[in-house]
Amino acid sequence: MVVIEPETNNFRELVRENLANEQQRKLLGDFSLILKALRDFSFGEMADGHAALQGGQKIREYAVNSLPYLLETFEENATKAGAKVIWARDAREANAFIISLAKEKGADLCVKGKSMVSEEIGLREELIKNGIDTYETDLGEFIVQLAGKRPFHIVGPAINMSVDEVSCLFNQVLGFDKTQNPVDLTMAARIFLRDKFEGAQIGITGANMAVAETGSIILVENEGNIRFSTSAPETHIAVVGIEKVVPTLSDATHMLKLLTRSCTGQRISEYVSVITGPRKAGEVDGPEELYIVILDNGRSRIYADEAMKSALQCIKCGLCAAVCPVYTHVGGYAYGWVYSGPIGAVLNPLLLGLGKAKHLYQATTLCGACKDYCPGGVDIPNILLSLRERAMAGDRSLAADRPPVRQKIFYCLWTWVLMDRLRYKIVSKLFRMVLRIAGVGKLPILPAGLSGWTQCRNMPQPAKKSFHDLYAETSKWMAL
């Protein structure tokens, strides 16, 4: 068992490592291309994909703006259907509740569906620490659990492992026979986990959506492990972030269309479970009890911040990562925590503190592809700029570090220069002179902050005369 601590401030080191991995880079590049193509094709099939996208963004915006009222309605309806709704302020509380419930039930085996929020709170590790055997049941998550690694990619947690590596892993940890056949490996996992589905007392999942109108939670998957986790054990616990609620069932089906298309290019996933309360009287399967743990863990703080609020509109489809030029090269590991790609660049700092993830919101070109593709309408580029503003201001409420003094002096001076035409002329002329003397193009001698440019590029040729100079001359000449 490995407890995975955030490595979000190890960004530069992780980037260096990951960029050096040629095989991984090719895989990331190819996979992103495929996901993007599948997404574009599936949106192209819709009567009006663009309108559908905008419709989804509006639904999520509306939902987030009315969040507490929708949560109340959700709770009311879920409770009417027999679910027990529990509210947890943070990871510690959520884990403590779930552990004590498991102990109360005398549970010693738990099966888990893929859930980012449960990774955020380190639930699996806590359960295991408390003597409750817990298995990830999504095949990719199962593999990375056995390997003690972080998921490589949102959509494919273990796709960077070769068949041989998975085979060695299964052989080492579970005693399975080695094989070069991925079907055999999959079937071996199937048999192993089937046994766990049958024997587990508790099933734990997240939820893709919580529907206020009906009190239902909706879960999306292709493998069937979530259907098992929510049908076979006597107790089902669903951990749901406060932001997951949508108003109505028709809103939910609209978001569903965008979610599966954005995530894997599917019109719909192989299985969609709409769960409304525990099993009813006379039913022979399904959980006797359904606990829905509504989790805050820093989200209400984000909610209170107008500039950051739209981050909660995210539906966790992973498309932003597939279209992000930074993610496509550095991969998920570099983001150092549960969330990766553009939404990771936003959520990791907001949830962990700006000082703990200081590179994530700086290492972006702000190209805006993420925003253009996002079905939830998250304004990632502007949130990133806001994060930079708060970092520059040393905002303690977001746990930003105090910015180095020289940084503030630098930008203060830069502003001072730009505020006066003569100053600008003189300083820029000096700057160009220095560049010319330093040897432009082939010989990079630059102030430390800018030397990164010349690692792979020539310096631009500084103009002998600036445009302003030239224009002034011509105007003078033209006035004669």
Binding site: S66, L67, P68, Y69, L70, L71, T73, A81, G82, I86, W87, A88, R89, A96, D138, L139, I143, G156, A158, I159, V163, V166, P182, V183, L185, R190, L193, E198, E213, T214, N222, E223, G224, N225, R227, F228, S231, A232, I242, P247, T248, L249, S250, T253, R267, I268, E270, S273, V274, I275, T276, P278, K280, E283, V284, D285, G286, D296, A304, K309
Partner: protein, 221 residues
């Protein structure tokens, strides 16, 4: 020790300071009911589910259904089956018919543990379906007393027998069709659009990782 009710107040009050009351009632938007061309819908359904790895058959009589079923069972080399209490299956006399063909129909268990045992050991699960959605090739099962969840999940093959009249164009019509009873949904409603699928090992598409490897949908007129 955490106190849920207190947390609830704290969280909701904090959020309400920055929230806007919903300006519309929390009611699904329902499109008008249309008349459906069942043949066209069947055609779409068949195309979509077949492309997704399922097998779709249309028969026009009880005998046709039983014959198709037999062929499938032979193809699967199946010995045991679990079946749901769906009225369509009862009308077909499914249990009796399968018994006469040498297929052991495992007894429907009332005890959850025993029920798990039979579902996990059967070769095939046979159920009905409440709706079928044409544009995605999806069958919709309202789980309840008559349609237990594990029947369509645990056995390595799942056969669904559906009345053709249950075909709807898409998921939006489903919401419209459910109508006011969406206020009283079953404990679980499952939408199934193909066999269980994964590509988690080296991006190789493999069927039947946890759920059934084979899915058959037989439409009866």
């Amino acid at each position: 020790m955490m106190h849920s009710a207190t947390n609830r107040s704290i969280i909701l009050n904090r959020l309400k300071r920055f929230a806007v009351r919903p300006d519309a009632p929390i009611e699904s938007k329902i499109a008008k009911n249309r008349v459906h061309d069942l043949d066209a819908l069947y055609s779409s359904f068949s195309q979509a589910l077949t492309a997704n790895g399922g097998t779709v058959i249309q028969v026009n009589k009880k005998d046709g259904a039983l014959e198709s079923l037999e062929n499938i069972m032979k193809e699967l080399d199946a010995d045991t089956a679990v079946i749901s209490e769906d009225s369509v299956l009862k009308t077909l006399g499914l249990k009796e018919h399968l018994n006469t063909r040498g297929i052991n129909v495992l007894k429907g268990e009332k005890n959850p543990t025993a029920h798990k045992g039979t579902c996990f050991s059967a070769d095939v699960g046979i159920t009905g379906a409440d709706y079928a959605l044409a544009d995605t090739g999806t069958i919709v099962i309202f789980h309840g007393k008559n349609n237990a969840r594990l029947l369509s999940l645990a056995p390595p093959a799942h056969i669904a027998i559906v009345e053709k009249g249950k075909l709807l164009p898409d998921i939006d019509t489903l919401v419209a069709e459910i109508g006011p009873s969406r206020r009283d949904l079953p404990s679980a409603m499952t939408l199934i659009t193909g066999p269980s699928l994964t590509a988690d090992i080296a991006l190789q598409a493999i069927y039947g990782v946890h759920g059934p490897k084979k899915l058959y949908v037989i439409f009866i007129e």
